[in-house]
Symmetry: C2
């Protein structure tokens, strides 16, 4: 009998793993249990679908359950895994017909993450949405269809600022409540201030240092307002963007890291069993710069980890394709607020200090193209380097069209642990429609060399 | 008496060196001899100025002679160096007043490059332009002002395709004659074909395999047509974009490389004398991948080499700022034809073979943003890797907005000699407005891993 691979979770990580195994192993049965009704979709696209930039949620689905089935993967929708017997190699799962048990030879836990819903008064009111999957997108769009006017977004992480853009694009009176002093806490205040300024320009009301204490709810159970320590914000619709937390409870005995995320080896295998892998938003992963574990629920990591897990399982089933490993991350991320592109890679100043470095910070302002070329827009940047080794530790940028993708150049430099001195002299592209003669990443690196040399006229 | 630094050439390399010395050394006299009337200008901007994208050539001048003088640099315009006595540390130079001699303690040869004008019948006719500096730009604009209709561009390197765009933007009937079978010979045919297609879409006539044999000239000495072995192309204005060659004849005894470019060490010092430095379009530089010397007349290298030369001279005069070195290049370049962005880095297939690698090539097609996101455009890419080491050797791309700058990510990967396997797993940014979940450089790297594994199911 063919070995059975059971995959729990049918989005990026799970279906990438399933597809890799399906491609690499001839004689295998692959069963996928998916709680919802979609597979292989772009959760990252949901805010843009709500904004109206994308016509249909079908556009966000890379491969439907039916397409996966046609390739030979047994996808079971609205099927929820309830518990795992790691020793006995079974999973108990349920659907509307009842509770069932299924045995497996190899297991992939790709359960993803869930939106955090803190225990605040009124949090369960109708009209308070979280944004995690396509079902959430439908709920928000249905709600918008009822004719709402005032939106409040709680939190200004990626989802928060993307939903603020979406609501503003829909013509809603939009307010963002952020606990910190600047929006998008994953960037330093210097970059956050650029975002705050753009929000004001786009008539999005940003309230910083706002500690949400609860929600006002009407007699029908609908949200009416968001309360903070300092004020009350009337709302017809609320997005609660408090972040996400790994769905790791199906493996109670597995080693856990930050936020309870599952720890795996570099083939995405959990330490508890040589027959169990985990990938995607439910795992923690190595940060290559700090050496610590981080929880970064991003589609790009889910895809790569799914591929690694799938290849590792295929190899364990005799496939001859060599196994890749997942080498960790450098915390690269990109988003935008309206026409302001925002990106980061590496460590922030505080993260760098916590990791034992001696961070030095430099900020710059440049343009997205040669200053004299039509369409050149302002771009702000920030770099962090280690004073001891002169190694680049992090870069953050914000600016007009073309600013955001500069982060990949910095990410690649971080990946190879380059010093700021070496980065200044790397061979990056230059032509007036694309760049000043010193690329923005090099402008940041040069600014860092100057900071680092202060008090030390002979840099190494 | 203060030591005297003499700089021959007042553009990117020369003025960057002069400025660095001026900044770092307190007691020094800096004299710059410049043949023309401009300093520190963007030659790369000339085609866009001619196209009408940039209003005035003043926009292309980063710092005027007067601004340099106010900073204490003695800039002498319309002053041509005639010969160098390296032993005696003097330079003979001329201006309209006659011939003079000036002594120096440190010399920077930043004489740049000149446009190649092959010895073809009629090449000196009026109306045949080369594009190298602001004076050339004025000449073309004056000519266009006389009301011309038909433009022929000979050659389709950067300057050739940028001038084709400029003439087309000006509404001229534009023909490009290229000796090779596809335009822009610095990219592989696969990318060249994308450019050829876009030229056709923009009503630019591209004639490939065209060997120019001469020019028809009228009784007043004006060009009338360009002749090739296969046909004659009527022309009111011609740009001869045959490439450039280093102006290195002032140092007849210096070691020379490709095209006669001056060889320097990694501080831009010439081997002939410890008191002579050279930088910019007149030098050859190390290609880090092949290990050979290349002549790459680009502003980005001129700036960096000028900075390195200036800091080296400053150090030789006792400045305590440490010297940087110029580490060589990976042949990164970017340009565009209308809305098609085109870029390359690393070696081409033939270059890779000549350098002793076993090149494997993969081509891909992807989109500039997530396929479903508004504004996503087609993007074509090509990667070259070494079959022995699986190391990335080169990447080339062409496509819509955002395609070109992807090259910097590849350039940074080449810089650190990453394998294609490692690149697949690097942490690059992803969000639907910016990228598919696999960044284009990773799509190329994945395609290469597949190519490399053919016939070898166990890649290293």
């Amino acid at each position: 009998m063919a070995p059975r691979v059971l995959v729990i979770g049918g989005d990026a990580a799970g279906m990438t793993a399933a597809s890799a195994i399906n491609r690499l192993v001839d004689d295998v049965e692959i069963v996928v249990l998916e709680r919802g009704t979609y597979t292989s979709y772009s959760a990252c696209g949901v805010p843009y679908w709500i904004a109206g930039d994308i016509d249909s949620c079908d556009d966000l689905v890379a491969r439907t359950p039916q397409q996966h089935r046609e390739l030979g993967i047994d996808v079971r929708l609205e099927s929820t895994a309830e518990s795992i017997d790691v020793e006995g190699r079974t999973v108990t799962w349920s659907d509307e017909a009842g509770t069932h048990e299924i045995s497996w030879d190899r297991l992939v836990v790709a359960t993803g993450a869930r939106s955090v819903r803190p225990d605040l008064p009124g949090i369960d009111a109708e009209g308070i949405h979280t944004i995690k999957d396509l079902h959430d997108g439908h709920a928000v769009l249905d709600h918008l269809g009822q004719g709402v006017r005032r939106a409040v977004v709680v939190g200004s992480g990626y989802i928060g600022i993307e939903m603020a853009e979406a609501f503003a694009a829909r013509g809603l009176d939009t307010t963002v409540l952020e606990r910190d002093s600047t929006p998008l806490p994953i960037v330093e205040d210097h970059v956050g201030e650029v975002i705050a300024k753009r929000m004001a320009e786009r008539d999005v009301t940003l309230v910083t240092d706002a500690e949400v204490t609860g929600f006002d709810v009407d007699a029908e159970g609908r949200v009416q307002a968001v309360r903070t320590a300092d004020g009350t914000y009337a709302a017809d619709i609320v997005v609660a963007a408090f972040g996400v937390t790994p769905r790791s409870e199906l493996l109670p005995d597995a080693e856990k890291g930050v936020k309870g995320g599952i720890v795996t080896d570099d083939q995405q295998r959990v330490s508890e069993s040589e027959h169990v892998w985990s990938a995607g938003d439910c795992v923690v992963t190595l940060d290559r710069i700090s050496g610590g574990l981080v929880h970064l629920p991003l589609g790009t990591h889910a895809n790569k980890q799914g591929l690694v897990a799938g290849e590792s399982i295929a190899a364990s089933l005799g496939a001859t394709w060599s196994r890749r490993t997942f080498p960790g991350v450098v915390q690269t991320a990109i988003t935008k607020f309206c026409d302001l592109e925002i990106a980061r890679t590496g460590l922030g100043e505080e993260q760098a200090r916590e990791a034992g470095f001696t961070p030095v910070v430099a900020t710059i302002e440049t343009t997205t193209r040669a200053g004299y070329y039509p369409g050149a827009e302002s771009m702000w940047g920030l770099g962090i380097a280690d004073a001891q080794t002169r190694r680049l530790l992090g870069v953050q940028v914000a600016g007009g069209q073309g600013a955001g993708l500069r982060i990949d150049t910095a990410a690649m430099a971080l990946w190879s642990e380059l010093t700021v001195d070496e980065i200044v002299m790397t061979d990056l592209s230059y032509a007036p429609p694309f760049s000043s003669v010193w690329s923005p990443v090099q402008v940041i690196a040069r600014a860092l060399t100057k900071e680092l040399s202060e008090g030390s006229p002979h840099p190494a």
